[in-house]
Symmetry: C2
Subunit: 323 residues, 2 copies
């Protein structure tokens, strides 16, 4: 049986929305007549690529950090991430007057290291082929007395991510379905909690890369399964296994998972450039890819989609569009 | 002496704003902390790449078409353009229940022909190396009794384009300078009329590609000069000579013209992708390029910039970003 006590409730997400107001952007909801005609539905796109640090991750990081005590903030914050969570924690820490130490792979692209350093964070690198980032992060936090903010396995992080869906449903009104990219599962766990809390009849559909369908398999099996590290252009969705906490939410609230190929994601990146004039990273485009590739059947009449991030970089975008 | 009767007054632009409301988008004003820090100013970016048909041109086309008589609308509309004006007239004609015939070069990329045809317009092609599009357009209009909507040499078109600046100044408040790309001169003529009408002390700065500085030369000479057809990636700004009507406005109201190279425009396209997560066409990025390349000196404290369009296409964007 599922637990009778939820990890996150709608009220936690409402509280998170209050907490992040003024720090996070209330991102716009994009509409496209062309997209509506292609999909055969009214589609509402929540543009988290326009969020601070370029991804939804700022919501969860800021919400978790804003709940720390003055003592914790004085000692500082730790996180491990090669991606958007690193920048999110670095910026959120600076915004509340604290400091951050981020554990990042030694082979992280220089642009990402520079972005994190640019927010004033200290960076500690590790060898991702031989070392375990969670152990390094936990040891570092223990040694220096830092508060460790994980990328998704934390109720405050999940609640913060859920504010993206809360805003979308407030702005778009009643929706029949909400489509959300799935990586570690924090965004969809928070979003499903918000969506089903506000509109109990909404269908919540997760999108995974075809090569990285750990959550789809886990839901089918009724327990968390681990797959080989996925090879996909959707680097933000390359988790080999769902989070324990996030899976406990998602097994209850996620109705279905659909899969998209890398080629379908590339088509969505092109559509975003050609029609929406907006820049998405591959993970951020997977929900849009599912719609454009006809993965929703039957097609709901009113669909919300979270465009989760836009940190792709001009050079990589050029090669993805050209491929 | 300049004429005592203006081609376009602030009230014409206010009237145009009423006329296009509901048909055109009120586009957002983008802000970037990174851009502010790089430029050393507060910068307000008017995102006309998010306008309908992907460029400011819809404003002028719709305003001019909305002023036609029922008889004129019943007979139909003609225009000549290889670019954004073609799509703008095609869509505006459809929106008011009229029909459009667009004269386009035979070697126009298929995507642009398809877009115009997709709005229900008839397309007539010509050989741009041997034939004159204005003559073809005028003959066609005379023969079929169509109303010809020129790309910039028309007071209603100029007034419509000015609504972009009107909205920007309403949203951003007092500005010290307004930076506007210059092609045929319609956007800056309308924008300068709106800006100086609302805020008489504002400085209006035009931006041309270094290879296509016909308006800068014309302002310096005090009369319209013609240069060889410019070779630049900024295809929307490749006019060899200013319009007669637009120049009569711009010689009165434009304070300065600055020039940007194709490489500086490419840098601005990259910045837009990396930091703004937004897609610009080269002409649409020239104002941003001027700021990033330090062409404004001394730097005004509060600067408005019109990002005039985003119709670049994924394949061309990829090659521009990679170059």
């Amino acid at each position: 049986m599922t637990s009778s006590v939820s990890v996150v409730e709608l009220q936690d997400i409402r509280d998170a929305a209050q907490r992040i107001a003024g720090a996070a952007h209330r991102t716009p909801v994009l509409r496209s007549r062309t997209l509506d005609a292609l999909v055969g539905a009214r589609v509402y796109l929540k543009a988290e690529n326009l969020q601070r640090v370029g991804a939804f991750k700022f919501r969860g990081a800021y919400n978790a950090i804003a709940r720390l005590t003055p003592d914790q903030l004085a000692r500082g914050i730790a996180a491990y991430s090669s991606g958007n969570h690193a920048q999110a924690v670095a910026l959120a820490a600076r915004e509340v007057g604290s400091t951050a130490v981020i554990v990042m792979p030694a082979d992280t692209p220089a642009a990402k290291l520079d972005a994190v350093a640019g927010y004033g964070a200290e960076i500690i690198t590790y060898d991702r082929y031989t070392e375990n980032r969670e152990q390094i992060g936990q040891a570092l936090a223990a040694e220096r007395g830092l508060a460790l903010i994980p990328p998704y396995e934390h109720p405050d992080v999940i609640a913060g991510q859920g504010t993206a869906a809360l805003e979308l449903l407030e702005d778009a009104g009643d929706l029949d379905a909400l489509v959300v990219p799935v990586g570690g599962g924090g965004l969809i766990a928070g979003s499903a909690t918000a969506a089903k809390g506000l509109q109990p009849h909404i269908t919540v559909i997760g999108v995974e890369p075809a090569a990285g369908d750990d959550t789809r398999r886990s839901l089918a099996a009724g327990e968390r399964v681990t797959i080989p590290v996925p090879r996909t252009i959707a680097d933000g969705q390359a988790a080999p296994t769902p989070g324990e906490l996030t899976f406990s939410v998602n097994r209850r609230l996620v109705d279905d998972i659909v899969l998209v190929t890398d080629d379908e994601i590339r088509d969505a990146l092109r559509f975003a450039v050609d029609r929406l004039k907006t820049v998405l990273e591959p993970s951020g485009a997977s929900g849009l890819a599912a719609l454009l590739a006809g993965k929703l059947s039957p097609v709901p009449a009113r669909i919300g989609v979270i465009l989760s991030g836009g940190n792709v970089g001009a050079a990589r975008l050029a090669s993805l569009l050209a491929a």
